[in-house]
């Protein structure tokens, strides 16, 4: 754990801010000097985990860590400005501080998918938690099979990590396909919702699929993947929920007998079915 006391944030500093889109920023975060917390460092987390980020005075929200723990000395948070706390985060600059608690959540089980082909289906800012896995896989390339990344955004202005995706696509064993919902001037790539890209995937049933994006996109993506023959246990997603504590006590993220913050946020579709989670 980064923080030594359960509900007390550990001081962290913003070492870099990058504007990804008109409402999304990427923050590079390092722990503040002299604030050891319980001694753990910035890469003591698993892909798919999240942290509770505080802007003292505004509040605290859960944000997925979108960097890979294979990167040293920092972790990254991709934040969309949508409410009070994320708005406060957006007003902060390099050198200013957040409070961090975590990392929380079960994360993606990278051990379990070793040797497997991985299909990433991401919509909008949903790419952020999946980026953590993608970068981990790239840093441990030999441990994993084919990698296909399907990404969709509403408009080209909504696309996040566009340069990175282009970089990833340059690798031989990695296929990256991007699409936007409707035709737009200045875009000559694929047009249509991200599920239309699934037709381009060869031998889809060989993949383990990791899906993340707006609720409606997850719904249709999972439907398509099941239609293509993937098994329920091989479709994995990560859920977003209103959370206050991140540690399974406040009750806000509780659904189907499970706490998304401790039993999740990563679940297989088989598990979500058993929990009766409407998708």
């Amino acid at each position: 754990m980064f923080n030594s006391k359960l509900y007390i944030p550990r001081a962290a500093v913003i070492s870099d801010v990058e504007e990804l889109t008109y409402d999304t920023k990427l923050f590079k975060v390092r722990f503040k000097e002299g604030h050891k917390g319980n001694g753990s460092s910035e890469n003591d987390y698993k892909p798919g985990q999240f942290v509770q980020v505080s802007v003292l005075g505004a509040g605290e929200v859960p944000i997925s860590v979108c960097s890979s723990p294979t990167e040293d000395d920092y972790f990254e948070l991709c934040v969309r400005k949508i409410g009070l706390v994320t708005g406060a985060m957006h007003s902060l600059k390099e050198g200013e501080e957040f409070g961090i608690r975590g990392p929380y959540g079960n994360g993606f089980s990278m051990e379990q998918v070793k040797g497997q082909d991985l299909l990433f289906v991401a919509g909008g800012i949903g790419l952020a938690p999946l980026r953590s896995v993608i970068k981990y896989v790239l840093d441990n390339r030999d441990d994993y099979g084919r990698v296909t990344i399907l990404y969709g955004a509403r408009t080209k202005e909504d696309i996040v990590f566009v340069e990175e995706m282009h970089q990833w696509g340059k690798e031989d064993s990695i296929k990256v396909l991007m699409t936007i919902d409707r035709p737009q001037e200045g875009w000559d790539g694929h047009v249509g919702v991200v599920t239309t890209l699934l037709r381009e995937v060869r031998q889809p049933t060989k993949y383990k699929a990791l899906v993340c994006g707006p609720a409606i996109m997850i719904h249709f993506a999972i439907k398509e993947l099941l239609d293509l023959g993937l098994k329920e246990k091989d479709i994995i997603t990560t859920l977003e929920r209103h959370m206050k504590c991140g540690v399974g006590k406040c009750g806000h993220c509780y659904i189907g007998g499970k706490y998304v913050c401790t039993d999740g946020p990563v679940f297989t579709y088989a598990q979500l079915n058993a929990m009766n989670v409407p998708l």
């Binding site: 359960l6 003292l56 949508i82 609720a215 007998g257």
Partner: protein, 347 residues
């Protein structure tokens, strides 16, 4: 909390007169919480007392549950200044307390909350206060109109999971010790207790008034697990519930809370946690408007599934302890007990 074992103490008893003296003595030396009747409106609720005379013995159950003393309506988590994380200060505000007069159902509820706040991550705000408390509970010799502890198997008497249990027998109380903490308190005030006859649970239970269970808990569990509850029950409840939150705020097993950063009127900046409840749409709704709960029918089901199904699975204790408080507070006339009976009978 408290070792779950039968502590071997020779059978003890205490008269009402000595109990008053005992409580007065405890009130002099320690922080004592007991039921008190408000002299204006007349409701009975837990309060800090100094003497046995202040205590009300003539009540069915208190309006609020005793969870207030471990999980308060509103508490300061920490203070801070100007958004600086290094300025965070916590208060160690947990004080040692003796709580008297808690009913068996509420003790069972505290047991459930102990399990809940301890498992996985340890919630120190609750646990610090809880560890410093000792409970002298009082069993009931009758079930009152709103009660149904025999249906949820959480009363009127406990066979384990208590510190000191007083059971009213004739003109005195049989005293049972159920934990190390209880034993310690008993030893400290040994002089007030006397020897007593061996306590016979079966004999006592046979005399408890209105003890017939009002529903079959196992059947209710099954109905909920197999989703055999008609939509019209959820429709009815959803149509009545007006999100006042009282049924859940007063519930002795409810544990949900919200956290906000506030500035007090005196200018102190604090992170505060306060009671929250799942019967508000804002409870699950995210900043962008997305809500995993799609309608009020799904919202109102949660209480039933969580308490009567999921908590039974997780803790082996029914999440409802049959105290009946929620049936006395609803502006929509939602009756939790009647609804459970409907689920049982196959609504």
């Amino acid at each position: 909390m408290g070792v779950k074992q039968k502590i071997k103490v020779k059978n003890a008893s205490i008269t009402r007169a000595n109990l008053l003296k005992l409580l007065t003595q405890i009130g002099k030396e320690k922080l004592l919480v007991a039921p008190v009747r408000n002299e204006v409106f007349g409701d009975v609720d837990f309060a800090f007392v100094r003497t046995g005379e202040q205590i009300c013995f003539d009540y069915d159950n208190t309006v609020s549950s005793p969870k207030e003393f471990f999980f308060p309506n509103c508490e300061c988590m920490f203070t801070f200044e100007r958004a600086a994380n290094e300025s965070i200060r916590t208060e160690d505000s947990a004080e040692a307390m003796v709580l008297f007069g808690i009913r068996s159902c509420d003790v069972k509820a505290i047991d459930l909350l102990d399990n809940f706040y301890e498992r996985d991550f340890q919630d120190n705000y609750y646990l610090d206060k809880r560890r410093k408390s000792v409970i002298i509970s009082v069993a009931c010799s009758e079930l009152y109109e709103q009660c149904f502890c025999t249906s949820t198997r959480t009363g009127p008497l406990l066979e384990e999971g208590f510190d000191i249990q007083l059971v009213p027998v004739d003109k005195f109380y049989s005293v049972q010790i159920g934990s190390e903490k209880g034993l310690e308190l008993f030893e400290e005030y040994k002089g007030f207790f006397a020897d007593g006859k061996k306590f016979n649970v079966k004999e006592f239970m046979a005399k408890v008034k209105n003890a017939e269970p009002k529903f079959d808990l196992d059947n209710v569990y099954k109905k909920l697990r197999n989703e055999q509850v008609g939509d019209f029950l959820w429709d009815d409840i959803a149509g009545r519930c007006q999100s006042c939150g009282l049924c859940l705020f007063l519930c002795p097993t409810c544990s949900c809370f919200s956290v906000t950063d506030k500035t007090t009127a005196a200018g102190l900046q604090r992170r505060v946690r306060q009671w929250d409840a799942c019967y508000f749409r804002g409870f699950t709704r995210m900043a962008g408007g997305n809500d995993a709960v799609r309608n009020n029918q799904e919202m109102v089901q949660r209480k039933y599934q969580h308490k009567l199904l999921q908590q039974v699975d997780e803790f082996g204790i029914c999440g409802c302890v049959g105290c009946g408080r929620c049936n006395l507070v609803c502006v929509g006339n939602v009756n939790w007990l009647e609804n459970i009976k409907k689920i049982d009978k196959g609504a």
